[in-house]
């Protein structure tokens, strides 16, 4: 409970009362009852072409020894709940990349393959119907500090993660994006991610109930896989 109050104080200090109340209201709504639609995405990692960036963002594999730095990172972004997720992710053998600008940790990205976990918790929770094949990965929990968004940092982070995964021998990357998050959805499209299907679910208290899955038409899906990211 102390952690929750610390997060609320942190949110108030960083963003003010209005933003604190907005986030609280959203959290309460989502706990009581909410309908959510997500879009399952897939990217062919073999289609990646090299891009030139400023090289200001450095990507490194997350190690268990990075947990203290992650805890400090989560404290700065007022989300101590993320500490528990990070500990569980490391314990379960999930792998991740940390992004640094200079010496500062600015973001992270987690992933699993079928050898680590064929059906990640998100796949079950949202009924994403993703069956990871050999040389396929599921990417999740991509976060970049707000002050480092914009100016192409998100694209650079994603591109460097994709390149590292390709270099590790993976051929396809799966993930999902919340359908309402139009900027993110469009950015993924621009980066060559193909929407595979939309999945709707309704949350009632602690239970998430499927509403139905709908595969989008192939005509709208056939976005070039030979794209420049």
């Amino acid at each position: 409970m102390n952690a929750v109050f610390a997060d609320l104080r942190c949110l108030y200090r960083r963003h003010g009362l209005r933003e604190l109340l907005r986030k609280l209201a959203g959290r309460i709504r989502s706990v009581v009852s909410s309908r959510e639609e997500v879009v399952v995405l897939r990217k062919d990692l073999r289609s990646i072409t090299e891009m030139e960036f400023s090289e200001s963002l450095r990507i490194e594999e997350l190690e268990p020894g990075d947990l203290p730095a992650l805890f400090e990172f989560n404290r700065r972004r007022c989300d101590s709940k993320a500490n528990g997720r990070a500990v569980a992710d490391v314990r379960d053998g999930y792998r991740g990349f940390a992004g640094y600008v200079g010496g500062e940790l600015v973001g992270y990205y987690w992933w699993v393959d079928r050898a680590i976990e064929p059906r990640h918790r998100d796949i079950e929770r949202y009924n994403l119907e993703i069956e990871l094949a050999e040389r396929e990965v599921y990417g999740f929990d991509f976060f970049l500090l707000e002050e480092h968004r914009g100016g192409g940092n998100s694209v650079e982070f994603l591109h460097k993660v994709e390149s590292r995964l390709r270099d590790l021998g993976y051929e396809a990357l799966w993930g999902y994006v919340v359908a309402d998050n139009k900027p993110a959805r469009w950015l993924y499209s621009m980066c060559g991610y193909e929407p595979v299907r939309r999945v709707a679910s309704r949350r009632v208290l602690t239970r998430r109930l499927p509403v139905g899955a709908e595969s989008e038409s192939l005509e709208t899906q056939s976005r070039g896989s030979s794209v420049t990211v």
């Binding site: 891009m51 960036f53 914009g150 192409g152 900027p183 499209s189 621009m190 794209v227």
Partner: protein
Amino acid sequence: MSVTADVEQFIISELSQGRGITSIDPGDNLLAKGIVDSHGVMELVAFLEERYGISVGDEDLTPENFESVARIDEFVARKQDDRG
């Protein structure tokens, strides 16, 4: 003013503020240059829809249509042709 010049002007004046970008080559990759990010995409689409009276759908948001100013120019021309 051509679509290319128009879009270049918009990107430099509206999307690249404070980043010292004073010119864009029509073939420059807008993602790689960090000119278009998630919010930049939204603003750019709103600009194109308003300026050229076209409608941009989700299915249009592909690298083939938006990765460079030259591609955007071609995309706008196709959209205007479709409108007849």
